[in-house]
């Protein structure tokens, strides 16, 4: 799906002709995608379809086989390590598995990006960190170690760490996993408020359609290595194509395969054709 040129001029992230293969599996087979500035874009798709891989491409963690990725006007392929690091300093990234530094307390984890890149007085660091922890409801947990957190708490700490430097682009890989309904509401609100007040751009990868449709301005549905659908949440939920009908309806049958590619089931179980 090609975005029209008007919107692509103001895209913070622009991807054209992305092709990737991991091992023997084709992950992307010609993906074009635009992440407009100042908006919240959701990326959805079946498990294992390559959403995390796409985020890794956008942040230069993984180089695609082919295609062009431009972030804030900079072509990732032409950036050297320093250029890439400069760019990443302006990106907040929430890892799918939180990836907190196990040696450091919650406070130091959130303070880490500040300490590494800015020479700030200790008092200011403390205030910023406590402010961000307060926003995710974990100011009281500042002195705990990551091993002492539950999965949902770890995600919120990781979220606080991702936003601590007020980045221009926030990337959330499954931010809602393991959150109870109260925390989920708070995080949803946080994502919306951050985007509105700081004027940043957000990319949310998530499976929870109800949550996504409450924050996202647009959704990309990725399936089978391509963009299967693209549009506003209300449009997609109406399910006008086979892809969206199946995916958002949660049906096993349809163009999106539920099963990972496999050999013939009967053959795998040891039944050969022709025998009862």
């Amino acid at each position: 799906m090609n975005a029209d040129s008007a919107s692509s001029t103001d895209a913070l992230v622009r991807i054209r002709g992305l092709r990737t293969r991991l091992g023997a599996k084709v992950i992307f087979d010609g993906v074009d995608l635009d992440i407009p500035r100042g908006r919240i874009t959701a990326i959805m798709g079946p498990s294992g379809t390559g959403k995390t891989t796409l985020l890794r491409h956008m942040t230069g963690q993984l180089v695609p086989d082919a295609g062009e990725i431009v972030v804030d006007g900079q072509n990732l392929a032409q950036l050297d390590r320093n250029g890439l690091f400069d760019l990443r300093e302006r990106i907040g990234y929430l890892f799918q598995n939180s990836a907190l530094l196990t040696d450091f307390s919650v406070f130091e984890n959130v303070a880490f990006p500040l300490r590494q890149h800015a020479r700030l007085p200790e008092e200011l660091i403390r205030n910023i960190v406590l402010l961000k922890l307060q926003a995710v409801g974990l100011r009281g947990a500042a002195d705990l170690m990551p091993a002492e957190l539950s999965g949902g708490m770890a995600r919120r700490v990781a979220l606080a760490r991702a936003i601590v430097r007020d980045p221009m682009l926030l990337i959330y890989d499954e931010p809602f996993v393991g959150l109870d309904p109260i925390a989920l509401n708070q995080v949803l609100k946080l994502i919306r408020v951050l985007n509105a007040t700081l004027g940043l751009t957000s990319i949310v990868v998530a499976h929870e359609l109800s949550a996504v449709s409450r924050v996202a301005d647009q959704i990309y549905l990725i399936a089978a290595g391509k963009i299967a659908a693209h549009g506003q949440p209300q449009e997609l939920v109406r399910g006008e194509t086979d892809w969206t009908r199946q995916f958002f309806g949660g049906e096993a049958d349809g163009p999106v395969p539920f099963h990972y590619p496999a050999r013939d089931y009967a053959a795998d179980l040891g039944f050969t054709k022709g025998r009862a």
Binding site: T59, Q61, R81, F85, D86, R88, E89, I91, Y93, F95, N97, A99, L100, L101, T102, F112, P113, Q116, H117
Partner: protein, 256 residues
């Protein structure tokens, strides 16, 4: 890097590993200046690897000294030259045993835990998270440990030597009745600070670098699974021991 062990010829694999290790060394050296920004991290690591290995190195040093004292006293008494027990013990320790045995113990104690630690950081995306926060794990994680190995090893080897000489003294003087003055005066007369003691110091600094380089490399490039980390830990002990002994031979033969 693929998860499956590559099957090929033993020599080919070995050479590939050495090549990869050499490349890693260059990357770590390039990251060293940047790592000085995190110098407190280096200090923390010196303390960490040093304190971790201290007990085992002191214990083993003592026992090796005890055994050396016993054996040498017995052998030298056949030639009527028990007076030189202290000298032989000290020279053997300073030139060879101290650096080499300390390095092997260091590999087993500190090397393995460095590999496991970094391997786990890889497996849990902590290294990727640092990269995403624009922090270079080579400068922040690897280089401080590498430096710490180079700085801590000579200190550990000196402690090892001191305990071993104490052990030899215990056996030869306190137990077998060698004269205390003879033990010390012969030793101090024959051991040269530059050719014997400093030789050992250079060696142990090099071994400290070798062990931590292998340990960090194995952790850094591990397959991100528990099995991968387990294999990497084993490889750290095997490769760093072999490399230590091989480099020891080369340094002794050509440099000293």
């Amino acid at each position: 890097m693929s998860d499956k062990p590559v099957r090929g010829s033993l020599i080919g694999d070995g050479l590939a590993q050495v090549g990869a290790l050499a490349l890693f060394l260059l990357q770590v050296l390039a990251a060293l200046p940047r790592s000085l920004r995190h110098f407190t991290e280096t200090i923390r690591q010196i303390f960490f690897v040093g304190a971790m290995s201290l007990i085992i190195i002191m214990t083993c040093g003592l026992f090796i000294g005890l055994v050396l004292g016993l054996q040498l006293y017995e052998v030298l008494s056949r030639f009527g030259s028990t007076a030189s027990v202290g000298t032989v013990v000290a020279i053997a320790l300073y030139r060879e045993l101290g650096p080499v045995v300390t390095a092997l113990l260091f590999a087993g104690r500190a090397g393995t835990s460095i590999t496991a630690e970094i391997g786990l950081m890889r497996a849990t995306d902590q290294l990727a998270a640092m990269e995403m926060m624009a922090v270079d794990p080579l400068a922040y994680v690897v280089a401080p440990r590498f430096l710490a190995g180079i700085i801590a090893m000579p200190l550990l080897a000196s402690i090892f030597n001191a305990l071993a000489i104490f052990g030899a003294h215990l056996v030869a003087v306190s137990w077998l009745g060698l004269d205390n003055g003879t033990f010390w005066s012969n030793m101090t007369g024959a051991v040269d600070v530059w050719t014997d003691v400093m030789n050992g110091v250079w060696k142990s600094a090099v071994f400290g670098g070798v062990v931590t380089l292998v340990a960090t490399f194995q952790g850094y490039s591990t397959a991100p699974t528990s099995e991968g980390v387990a294999y990497a830990t084993t490889r750290t002990v095997v490769y760093s021991s072999i490399l230590t002994l091989a480099i020891d031979f080369l340094m002794t033969a050509f440099l000293m």
